[in-house]
């Protein structure tokens, strides 16, 4: 300890974390790519405050989200809280502004949310969400677009083997109604939701126990939701089994239109998987539902999920606002990209490193750095004229692939030594050829 004030221990709160460049760079690049896809579909960004009236945020919530909220009284005596998702603020936002914005309204929103969750399972108390929705229309074209965006995002991030699992709640509702089980739907779907986890036998037992489903009915439900085959075979089978039921027929028609759109868009058929067993968000979704699985990492679960809902903002507005949307799990996605080697090369802060050989020539190095930047290269010039070994070690540690060395000899000859730190090979390059040479090396 010095004789000054004792040091304050530098630390973050439990469940919170810093993002040093090695984490922040790939996240930023990931979000850039995702936003480029959103923009290519005419989706526009919105933002809402981190802090809201607690009354707004609790409006919907069960006790669970209430307990997890960072809620306090501000200096003006207001009961406020940090948002715990981007859905509730969007509902409030829509109620407040949709009259001016008009419908259909297509937005994306990327931002942090806060939940005082148990941190045992590697969960963070501050994390990013990324939501995108089209509201103010019932058209199935909007549902199709959400699925296309999910596809394009994963492709843009470099994933090759993935599938978007889709279902339609009207198919499930129609199935249950056709068996005379419309009333028991919530309990039945809750059981069905566990199919992947606990298996058909236990699901059947739970349906019988909680929703008075007869064994034969349970068998029929499970048989239908587990139809196997190509997407069109599944549709045909559904058509036969429950196509005469009006609601189911609507669901089937919507799914058929989705398949046709994906085919027209030239997307490989195995990237879309009809899956009659998925229900999702029991009290919320009413039409199409989506889950997205990575073939190579099935264990991490769905990385992008969502669906169609009937009314977004009923807590805050009398205006009926149907919509469809999905939420991208950015943390999970980044972990998956890391595991599949899709993040490589994304953490080098620059393409070219310029050695500061002597301080007297600083202006010379600044001029060449500028020329390279104008050509679109990212260039880092070392601030001090330290020993070359130290400078090259710095560049190597940062993962910068190319270094530029111009001492008095090179300057006299009008050339640069370009050292490729990836293979250690140096070449002498004329000043006039430099940009082209470096671009060719990258």
């Amino acid at each position: 300890m010095s004789d000054k004030k004792p040091l304050i221990q530098p630390r973050t709160l439990k469940g919170f974390r810093d993002f040093p460049p090695a984490l922040a760079m790939p996240r930023e690049q990931m979000i850039d790519k995702v936003r480029t896809v959103f923009r290519s579909y005419g989706f526009a960004p919105i933002d809402t405050p981190a802090l809201e009236y607690a009354e707004i945020l609790t409006g919907k919530g069960g006790d669970e989200s209430d307990k997890q909220m960072y809620r306090f009284t501000d200096n003006g005596g207001r009961d406020v809280a940090l948002r715990f998702d981007l859905t509730v603020p969007f509902a409030r936002f829509a109620a407040q502004h949709i009259g001016q914005l008009g419908t259909p309204f297509k937005r994306y929103h990327v931002g942090p949310v806060w939940r005082g969750e148990n941190t045992q399972h590697g969960r963070y108390r501050e994390f990013y969400q990324c939501d995108f929705d089209t509201i103010g229309t019932n058209a199935n074209a909007a549902d199709i677009e959400i699925a296309l965006i999910i596809h394009d995002i994963l492709a843009a991030l470099g994933f090759e083997r993935f599938s978007i699992h889709v279902n339609h709640r009207l198919v499930l509702n129609g199935l249950l109604a056709s068996l005379g089980l419309a009333e028991g739907a919530p309990a039945i779907l809750r059981a069905l939701d566990k199919l992947a986890k606990i298996g058909a036998e236990k699901v059947a037992a739970e349906m019988q126990a909680t929703a008075a489903v007869a064994p034969e009915q349970a068998r029929q439900i499970l048989e239908t939701v587990q139809i196997k085959g190509s997407n069109s075979e599944i549709l045909e089978e559904l058509e036969k089994k429950i196509g005469q039921h009006e609601r189911a027929a609507t669901g089937i028609a919507n799914l058929r239109q989705l398949l046709a759109a994906f085919a027209a868009a030239g997307i490989p058929e195995n990237r879309l998987a009809l899956d009659v067993s998925i229900a999702r968000g029991l009290d919320y979704y009413t039409g199409t539902v989506y889950e997205t699985l990575l073939d190579d990492l099935p264990g991490i679960g769905s990385i992008c999920s969502g669906g169609r809902y009937d009314d977004l903002a009923s807590l805050y507005s009398k205006q009926h606002l149907p919509g469809v949307g999905a939420s991208l799990g950015l943390d999970r996605l980044m972990a998956a990209m890391d595991e599949l080697g899709l993040l490589q090369d994304s953490t080098a802060p620059a393409d070219v490193f310029v050695v500061q050989f002597t301080e007297e020539s600083l202006a010379h190095y600044i001029a060449v750095s500028r020329r390279l930047r104008d050509a679109g290269l990212r260039v880092e010039l070392f601030p001090e004229a330290k020993g070359m070994g130290k400078q090259l070690k710095y560049a190597d540690r940062k993962g910068i692939p190319l270094t530029l060395i111009g001492g008095p000899d090179e300057m006299a000859k009008g050339v640069w030594q370009v050292k490729d730190l990836r293979d250690g090979v140096s070449e002498e390059v004329g000043d006039g050829d430099l940009v082209e040479y470096l671009q060719g090396k990258l």
Copy 2:
């Protein structure tokens, strides 16, 4: 009121605001451009939590920032607060991670901060800051780079008439020391800081009243800080007046190196203005200081300011971390861009609007939209097959310049009607020429 639960009034907290697309789009584009400049210099992003131990955040603060803090006890009984700037979290971050990250360390950080400020002067309680710093080096090359980055950011945002005002605290310190006034420096500089606001006479009076400066000394100080002329004339004049003083000489040499670097970088001379009168951040900055003014909007004050400091993280670490950096006023910058017409065209969510003529042809529209997206165009397809007038009105209201109409006639002929909503002119374009035609129109 319906007979359901009464509606919750949708509203934001005082001093907080929503960003609908018309605000969020230009902000996002502005931040994109700024980050591209940071990246071109090898600066890497970092992020830190919104919420920190209050002890960390108050560490430095005077009462003023304490009072403005959103501070509360979390559910785990911790005394926590929302960050009120990005500097204190960076100091904490550096103390914690610099050993692993190594120096020099160049980072940028863009994110929201929260202050319970008085909202009377149009101030918001949640706003974005954008900081960039190089720490762990005393080299003047780092100071020069910060000035170059400020320049490139403004140029990238489309500003043409602006100037970066620079000074060096060693010049001011040397000046005062040469007059035997080293001890009174804080009070004198505090008076000097008001020069632009209250004028030379009142500054002289304040110096005499608060720092026992003799009238002749005050005259000499004010004469020196107000030297007029070109940058090199000012430097020469300073050289003559105080160049024999060691500290001043160092400051002058650093400024000279900065001028040479800007010249070598080919930057118009009037974009850099030596200004011996600026002091800034009296207790913090110790070397180069920057302020950035827009020639066309001098009234809004500096839009990017900063300087060199001696030790970033002394509250949290024994490691000495000198650095240099600046902070970009994003809100002010966006207001200025708006006023100077630099935001136009940035709020259209798409380049091309595809009319959904009939739902039967949806797959056809989806296919063409996809083709255009693959060519880099942003394409919005209307989700419903509503009347064409309604659809075109929607596109026009959103500011989308080009619309694509393909009804049964066009489909039969293999063509598209392209209507330019900016002039109302329509042309028939062959399907094979479509991409090129649209790109030419944008």
